[in-house]
């Protein structure tokens, strides 16, 4: 079955090459057909791969396809090779499935853009890179995808390159990601140094032998890799690029900055779960950073007025949840949330794109209101997604989020404080999401008359993907229901072969023993549902029933409000602490060290030489008789030397 595996990433690459090399020469329908077909075919192959894999014995669900040797030097050897196992199978389904829907959606959304072909070329390139990332059988090939998606993110954020803010945002994303990649690289070096290989199967098999569990090296390696993850998945301290990334076209935000690319960090940690389980300190850092990011970003989300920025901070916050799950060694829960989040967050972004499309590119929620009248499909699909993200029982987000909260409480790596942060964040999430719904779709119509006259529901190519994603957002969670519901957790069972390590079994065992405490789990679940409901009603109160109450409350807390609205001034702080010293320091190096000191020294030598010659040239007076005199004097001296000397 392995023989067709490489076609899964290759097809989008072919699509990219066709659209990229024949840029501007193909008619639009052909461009979109090529782009959508390549990803669609890739999705079909992924489904095929999934079922083929399912047909295998659970222990044998690991298929590798080696294409060719990539780099071989000394003891270092890395192949271009793909690995299909339950984890990568889930990932390719999410990437190609959601990716395909977003491609279809884009044909409608980008219809009026003059750079239609370039857009789809980038989008296909992204799909290729993301599939390489998740299918790679070694860390280095994963890094190829890792940087590749970063590149596409850079290109797509800066897609409208004539806007300075867009190209700035793209550059920022790339550079911040590079900082993370620096960590990833060093982490890889440590792994290779100790194990002598970067292949996942070999690394995972040898790691328990080669590394001392809990030792400094493994902890350093895990932390460095996590630095990479914070860059790619927008966690503290490297999350700053993601909100700015909203400068890109909205489908891009849905695909790259919500559903797929930003989850790469979570995937990477889940993939290296064996390593992380050997480094409890690193796990703790992951959990704390995840929980802190979840809470921190959610608070910023409360005060944003740009519809996409709210969603951006919400993404950061939800990614925090996933890292929290990984940090408490509940990798399955993390991947589960990754999947459900891909559904509902992609839907949220696409729906907001539909809103922006209808509002003639207006993104400020203060200028919207009562849109449900004009955009019914968008409204209903977005509402479903909002219910899912808020964690209303029965929707997909409920199952995954609840799983994370419960594991963060009950796991041996968990702590009640972690749970508490997650719990509060759940309330905040529900609040800002319903604030968004109420400000956008309910209440008074605050747009100007011109915009209002153009309001229209989006075309079929956009609404169909919305509905498809809405279905997934609702039912996507049923594959992973908690044990206390008395049903088998299909998702956990599917991923179990990947999370096969001993340490994980111990954790599972600890969980099972804690699982006796079913009452506790029910109680916590009820508490979070109650909190979410309260938050929703609060949002309804402030933003639908009595908007003046919200203003009054905000006026009372102006300091807090401005701090939140300015995102805690983190960008400014980074600017003052990192960017400006770097630029000024470089200027100093150039203008002072290079030009004045080094070149001054060199030129000084030259000047000394020149001035010495300047003195000596007076000897060359141009008078023949002087030369003759010197000449005769020289002869006399020589003769005298030979006679008397």
């Amino acid at each position: 079955m392995a023989d067709y595996l490489f076609w899964i990433p290759l097809l989008p690459l072919i699509g990219f090459l066709i659209n990229g090399l024949l840029l501007g020469k193909l008619p639009r329908p052909v461009v979109s057909a090529v782009a959508c077909t390549s990803v669609g075919a890739s999705f079909v192959l992924s489904l095929l791969a999934f079922f083929d894999l399912k047909a295998l014995d659970p222990a044998a669900r690991q298929v590798e396809q080696v294409l060719f040797t990539w780099i071989a030097a000394g003891t270092f050897h890395v192949d271009v090779a793909f690995l299909l196992d339950p984890l990568s199978a889930v990932m390719i389904l999410v990437v190609t499935g959601v990716g395909f829907l977003i491609h279809v959606y884009s044909t409608g959304y980008m219809h009026h853009d003059k750079d239609f072909g370039r857009y789809f070329a980038y989008l296909n390139l992204f799909t290729f890179s993301m599939l390489t990332l998740v299918l790679a059988n070694n860390f280095l090939l994963m890094f190829v995808g890792w940087e590749g998606v970063g590149l596409c993110s850079y290109l797509l954020i800066g897609f409208w390159y004539h806007k300075k803010s867009a190209s700035d945002a793209g550059k920022k994303a790339f550079i911040v990601n590079r900082i993370g990649d620096f960590g990833f690289l060093l982490g890889m070096f440590i792994i290779f140094w100790q194990i002598g290989s970067l292949e996942f199967t070999e690394v995972m098999a040898k790691a328990p032998v080669m590394f001392a569990a809990g030792g400094g090296l493994i902890t350093a390696a895990c932390l460095l890799m996590f630095l990479g993850a914070t860059g790619k998945s927008a966690q503290i301290p490297l999350y700053v690029w993601l909100p700015d990334a909203m400068e890109g076209p909205t489908p891009v935000s849905a695909l790259i900055h919500a559903a797929t690319m930003v989850t790469a960090g979570v995937y990477m940690i889940a993939r290296s779960n064996v390593l992380y389980l050997m480094a409890p300190d690193a796990l703790m850092v992951v959990a704390i950073v995840g929980a802190a990011t979840a809470f921190f970003a959610a608070t910023i989300g409360l005060a944003q007025n740009d519809i996409k920025r709210v969603l951006a901070y919400s993404t950061v916050s939800q990614l925090g949840y996933m890292f929290l799950a990984c940090g408490v060694a509940a990798f399955t829960a993390g991947i589960f949330h990754l999947m459900t989040h891909a559904f509902f967050k992609a839907l949220l972004f696409l729906a907001s794109g539909s809103v922006i499309h209808a509002m003639s590119n207006e993104q400020d929620m203060r200028k919207m209101g009562n849109l449900r009248k004009y955009l019914p499909i968008t409204y209903w699909t977005m509402l479903l997604a909002t219910l899912a993200i808020s964690g209303i029982p029965g929707f997909s987000g409920f199952f995954s989020k609840d799983e994370i909260l419960w594991k963060s409480f009950s796991s041996q790596y968990g702590h009640w404080a972690l749970w508490l942060m997650g719990f509060v964040t759940a309330g905040l999430t529900a609040f800002y999401m319903f604030r968004l719904i109420y400000m956008t779709f309910h209440g008074k119509e605050r747009m100007d008359s011109h915009t209002r006259s153009h309001l229209h529901e989006s075309p079929r190519s956009m609404t169909v993907p919305l509905m498809a994603l809405a279905v997934l957002s609702v039912i996507g969670g049923f594959v992973g229901m908690p044990h206390i519901f008395g049903v088998a957790n299909l998702f956990e069972g599917w991923l179990a072969p990947v999370m096969h390590s001993k340490g994980h079994e111990a954790a599972a065992h600890a969980l099972a023993s804690a699982g006796g405490d079913a009452g506790m789990e029910w109680g916590l679940m009820a508490a979070s549902v109650a909190l979410v409901l309260i938050a929703i009603f609060a949002a309804r109160h402030f933003y639908n029933k009595k908007p003046e109450a919200a203003t009054a409350l905000a006026d009372k807390m102006t300091g807090l409000k401005t701090t939140l609205a300015n995102k805690y001034y983190v960008d400014e702080i980074y600017g003052a602490l990192v960017v400006r010293p770097l630029v000024n320091g470089s200027l100093f190096l150039w203008k002072v060290i290079d030009v004045v000191i080094i070149d001054g020294f060199i030129n000084g030598l030259a000047v000394i030489g020149r001035d010495a010659s300047e003195l000596l040239r007076f000897v060359q007076g141009g008078r023949v008789r002087n030369y003759a005199t010197v000449f005769v004097a020289g002869v006399i001296v020589l003769v005298a030397y030979f006679i008397f000397g």
Binding site: Q620, G621, G622, R623, V632
Partner: protein
């Protein structure tokens, strides 16, 4: 028979006059003649020793010097004339184009 040191003395005197002439004269023709004088002083020494030691090599060498001097005189005078045409002077101190 005139002793050899007489010849040598004469040669030294001739050479001295020649060298002095080169050093103090501004006239390029005079300088040129002084150089010839020095050459002939050297020739004299060669002849004197040749005769005193009874070896003809000195004679042979003098003929060589004479012919070279003749050629040199031709070329040198030609150069002086060319320079004179350009600079309209035979004052050596004015020939300072090579200065600096």
């Amino acid at each position: 028979m005139v002793p050899i040191h007489a010849f040598l003395l004469l040669a030294v005197i001739l050479f001295g006059i020649g060298a002095f002439g080169v050093l103090i004269s501004r006239n390029i023709i005079v300088m040129f003649m002084s150089v010839e004088l020095m050459l002939n002083a050297a020739n004299m020494v060669l002849i004197a020793f040749s005769r005193a030691l009874g070896i003809v090599d000195g004679h042979v060498f003098v003929f060589l010097v004479l012919s070279v001097a003749a050629a040199e005189a031709a070329v040198g005078l030609a150069m002086i004339i060319t320079i004179y045409r350009n600079r309209e002077t035979i004052n050596i101190d004015r020939y300072n184009l090579l200065k600096w």
